[in-house]
Symmetry: C2
Subunit: 406 residues, 2 copies
C-alpha cells in the first residue's frame, strides 16, 4: 500500500483549508488504498528541504474540524517554481524523497504556478517511468484559472468584497450634502473578476458602487475625471471600484503614475497604489472630498465572510482529487463544470494541468458593459450563486478561533 | 403633550443605529408623554435648514428592526459646531424651529463635538427660560469620552480589529522561513484604545501582534527599527499594530515624515499614513519583506463584527436617555458605570455634558506596558467583556441587508 502527500502553495484564500480538509478526510478514510497521509510544510519548497509531517494524527480530532473555517494555509505556503530543465538535481532529489516516504499520490492545492509544479512533476515521472499520481486542486481568489467555471476561494473573496462595499457605501453616504468620491482598490493584477463582484453590493439599478473599472480594458485618467465630474452633478457620494492592476492604453499601470510623480528620500519607488493616485488626482482636479481604500489582505483571509457554497465546493474539490488519483489519474487538475439548466449545479471533472498552468482567464467581453465602467447582468448572474450561504464560525470569547499547526 | 426630536452626528459606528433604535422604541411607546418623534436629517446642520422628518411611521415595521444592525447613520450625519456666542442668529432660529414643531425633548447621538452641541443648546435654553430637555447619547469607536466607563461603538470596533488581526496574523505567517514585517494602522488620532484592542487577537503570550504602539507615548523611529531587528532574530513573521496618530517626542506625527519625505507634482502633501512610512523605513533599513495595511472605514462600519454586548448597551443608552429626559433631566449625557464585582455588569447614569464635551480620555498609564510597545493585562481585562456576543445579521442572497432611509 502506498502513502500520499499533500501541500499548499501560493497566496492563501479563506477556503484553501476547506480543500485540505477534503483531501485529509478522503485520504484518511481510504485505508485500503492509502497508508499514511503526509503534509508538506511550505509546499514543494519545504518538501525539498525534508519538511514533511504525518497528518494521520488529525483524524477524528476537533482540530481537523477547525481547519475547515481557518483562513491562511494550514500547512504553510511557498512561491516556488520548479526549474524548466529536468536535468536539474531537484527532480532527482524530489523523487528520491517520494521513494523514501513510499509516496503513491501527490496532491497540490494552488493556482497557476502550482499547476505548473504538478505538470512538471507528472512529466518527469513519465520520463523515469514512475507511477506516482499527481493531482492539482485549484484555489485562487483571482478566479483566473482556465478550464474551470470558477475557482475555490473566489466565492468567499467576492462575498467579502460585495459585503464590505455595501457597508462602505452606507458609511460614505452619511454626510448628506457634501460632494465626495470614495475609491476602493480591489485585488486583481490582470483579471477583474473580484473587482466586478463589487456590483453585487448594489441594492437597485444605479446604486453605488456607480463605477467599476477592470484591468481588462485600458483606463483613461482623463475619462475617469470626466466620469466623476458628471456623476457628481446628480449624486453627492460617488463610490468607485478599481482593480489594482488598471493601466492606461500603453499598458502602464496607474499605480506607476504615482511612483513616477513621487520622489522620495528612500531612493526607490513608493509601493502604493492606483486608488491613492486617483484620490490625489480627484482632489487636484475636482477639489471635492475624496478617500481611497485598499481592501488589502482581508480579501483573502476574512473568515467572517466565507461563502458556504465556496467552502463546500473547495472541500469537494479536495475529496474529488483524491478519488481521481485513486482511480489512476495523473497530471490533472480538478475543474468545475456548471450545468446549463435552471438552478445552480456544479460537477467536478478533471482536466490536464498542461492546458491550465501558466495561463490566465480574464473577464470576457460580454461580462463588461459597453461603457467600460461596469459589468453586465450576465456577470452578476455568473457570480451570484458563488457567494450564497454562510458557515457557522466557531467563536470563543467573542473572537473566531482558528486551527494553528503545532 | 410635547414632541421629541433625535439626531446623529459625527463619524458613524457599527451600532450608532442601535442607539437610534433605543430612542425610537422608547419614545414611540411613551405615548402619554411624547406625541411625535421627529428625526433631524444630517444632525443639527440639517435641522437648521429645516430638514426634519417624522419617525412615527417606523413603529412596528420591519424597517425599524433592520435599523438595529445597519451601520452608518440612518438619519445622516454632520460635522457642525454651534457658534460660541449665544448672540448668533442660529440659536434664535433653532429655538423657533423647536417651537414650531412643539419640541419638548431633544436627543443627540454623538461624540465630543455632539456633546458640545447638547451643552450649548442647554445653556441657551436656560438663558431664555425654555424648558426643552437636551440629552446626549454617546457614540464613538475611539472610546475617548470622559465620565463613562466606555462608549457604545468601541466594543464592535474592537471586535473588528481583534478578529481581523487574528486573520491577518494567520495569513502573514504562511511563508514559513521568509522574514517579514506586517504593519497594521488602526484608527485613533490621540487615543490608543482601539489599537490596544488588537492585543485581544493573541492566542498565547508572545503571540502576534508582537508590538502595539499607542499615541499616548512618544514614538521613536530608531527604537522601532531596533525593536523589529531584535524580533526578527527569533521570529520570521512579525506583526505590528500602530495608531494612526503615533508621533515623535516633539509631537510631530509619523505620517508627517512621509509627507515631508515626499515631493509630488500635486503641490500638496500626500495624505497617506504612518504605516506606509514605517513600511518604507523597514524596507530601507532592514531589507526584509514588509507590508502595510490601513484598516480604514471597515473599523466603524463592519456589520459582520458587531458585538452583541455593544449593540445591547448602545440600544439601552438610547432608551435610558429618553427615560432621563422624561424624568426632567437636561444637559446630561448617558454614561456607563461598571460595577466593581465579579462578572461584567454595567449600569447607566447621567452626567453633565459640561464635564464631558471637548475633553478626550486617553489610555491611562497602567494600561500601557513598561516597554511602551504593548498593553497590560488590566487593559485586556477592561476590553474583553465589551467584544462578547454576536448578533444575527439579516442576510439575503448571500449579503447583509441594511435599512436605507427613503
Amino acid at each position: 500500500m502506498k502513502n500520499a502527500i499533500v501541500g499548499q502553495s501560493g497566496g492563501p484564500t479563506a477556503v484553501i483549508n476547506s480543500s485540505l480538509y477534503g483531501v485529509i478526510s478522503k485520504a484518511l478514510t481510504s485505508e485500503n488504498e492509502i497508508g499514511t497521509l503526509y503534509g508538506m510544510i511550505n509546499g514543494i519548497e519545504g518538501f525539498l528541504q525534508g519538511d514533511i509531517i504525518s497528518l494521520n494524527e488529525l483524524f477524528g480530532t476537533s482540530e481537523l474540524e477547525l481547519i475547515k473555517s481557518t483562513p491562511g494555509s494550514y500547512l504553510g505556503s511557498c512561491r516556488y517554481k520548479l526549474p524548466e530543465s529536468f536535468d536539474d538535481e531537484i527532480y532527482k532529489k524530489a523523487f528520491e524523497t517520494f521513494e523514501k516516504y513510499n509516496i503513491g499520490y501527490f496532491f497540490y492545492i494552488g493556482g497557476n504556478d502550482s499547476m505548473d509544479t504538478v505538470n512538471k512533476l507528472t512529466k518527469y515521472a513519465q520520463s523515469i517511468n514512475s507511477d506516482i499520481k499527481f493531482i492539482g486542486i485549484p484555489k485562487t481568489i483571482d478566479n483566473d484559472l482556465v478550464q474551470t467555471d470558477h475557482t475555490p476561494g473566489f466565492g468567499s473573496a467576492a462575498k467579502y468584497v460585495a459585503s464590505t462595499l455595501r457597508e462602505i457605501c452606507i458609511d460614505a453616504c452619511v454626510y448628506g450634502n457634501t460632494k465626495a468620491v470614495t475609491i476602493v482598490e480591489v485585488m486583481g493584477r490582470h483579471s477583474g473578476w473580484l473587482t466586478g463582484a463589487s456590483a453585487l453590493a448594489r441594492n437597485f439599478e444605479g446604486d453605488n458602487p456607480m463605477f467599476i473599472y477592470l484591468p481588462e480594458n485600458a483606463f483613461s485618467i482623463d475619462k475617469f475625471i470626466s466620469d466623476m465630474k458628471t456623476a457628481l452633478q446628480t449624486t453627492n457620494a460617488v463610490i468607485v471600484c478599481i482593480s489594482e492592476g488598471i493601466h492606461d492604453e500603453n499598458g502602464k499601470f496607474i499605480c506607476e503614475y504615482l511612483h513616477q510623480a513621487t520622489q522620495d528620500k528612500f531612493g526607490h519607488k513608493m509601493l502604493t497604489g492606483a486608488a491613492k493616485y486617483l484620490e490625489l488626482t480627484v482632489k487636484e482636479k475636482l477639489g471635492v472630498k475624496v478617500r481611497s481604500i485598499e481592501l488589502n489582505l482581508s480579501q483573502r483571509c476574512a473568515a467572517g465572510y466565507i461563502s458556504a457554497t465556496d467552502s463546500q465546493e473547495a472541500m469537494y474539490a479536495g475529496l474529488y482529487g483524491v478519488q481521481a488519483a485513486l482511480e489512476g489519474e495523473s497530471g490533472k487538475m480538478v475543474c468545475f463544470e456548471r450545468e446549463d439548466q435552471n438552478g445552480y449545479v456544479v460537477n467536478c471533472v478533471t482536466k490536464a494541468t498542461e492546458l491550465i498552468c501558466n495561463k490566465e482567464k480574464t473577464v470576457p467581453a460580454n461580462y463588461i458593459s459597453e461603457n467600460k465602467h461596469d459589468v453586465t447582468q450576465e456577470f452578476i448572474d455568473y457570480c451570484k450563486p458563488l457567494i450564497q450561504g454562510e458557515i457557522l464560525m466557531p467563536i470563543k470569547d467573542g473572537l473566531p478561533i482558528f486551527a494553528i499547526r503545532k
